[in-house]
């Protein structure tokens, strides 16, 4: 099982001046995301049951929510570096 990302670093330099420097502590946000996901899970399960019983066309919203969370957790290790003559953009998820 992969550890979810703990920190997101964003750095943007334009015209030789540092424009943006963000350090986002994802390890503090994950508990909040978990709480919101649990609340959303309750609604999606109810929606899926209602749609399944009424033979609705799409009743996989719970799976979509869980798959989306899994995909977000797998972004650990993503790194994007763009070095231009005037602009530098670095994003790393670790």
């Amino acid at each position: 099982m992969t550890m979810p990302p703990m920190v997101v670093n964003i750095r943007v330099v334009s015209g030789g001046e540092r424009k943006v420097r963000l350090w986002i502590p994802m390890f503090l946000l994950w508990p909040l995301v978990l709480v919101l996901a649990l609340l959303a899970l309750v609604f999606t399960i109810l929606a899926d049951i209602v749609l399944l019983l009424s033979r609705g066309p799409f009743h996989h919203s719970t799976r979509v929510l869980l798959a989306g969370l899994a995909a977000a957790a797998e972004t650990r290790g993503l790194r994007v570096s763009i070095d231009g003559p005037d602009t530098i953009v670095h994003v790393s998820v670790s």
Partner: protein, 159 residues
Amino acid sequence: MSEERSRILTMLAEGTITAEEAGRLLDALESRAQADAGGAGPSTAETAGSTTAAGGATGSEPETAGRPPKYMYVKVVSVNGDNVDVRIPLNLVRSGLKLTSLIPPQAMDQINQSMSEHGMSFDLASFKPEDIEELIMALREMEVNVDSKNGDNVRVYCA
């Protein structure tokens, strides 16, 4: 002197590129040589203005032969100084491919039809989890290397 280094110096002598651009290209060449020496990348064939897709793990080390690749790397070295370096975790690709099983049937039919119109007769609905693993293992042996006439270099590989 390697062929690529000689080509870069020739372009500098002809005035096609500036000294700064030649320096960047030489640095990119060195880092690529170090990555090839230290990593498990397959052998590459590079010609000006051509695209190659290498098959076969002729350059892979024994200890990495059975290990699936972890990242996909996309590296662009441009003569104009626009360099791009992207590293994508292949677990993210796995998660994305698994999401295809959640696409509604009507949308899936439209997607398959559109793909077949563009020459890719591929049924996304029949994609199984074991196919994903096989695809990712095959990506370990894939490398795309593009050298353009103006000196830009694009490299895509998995390791």
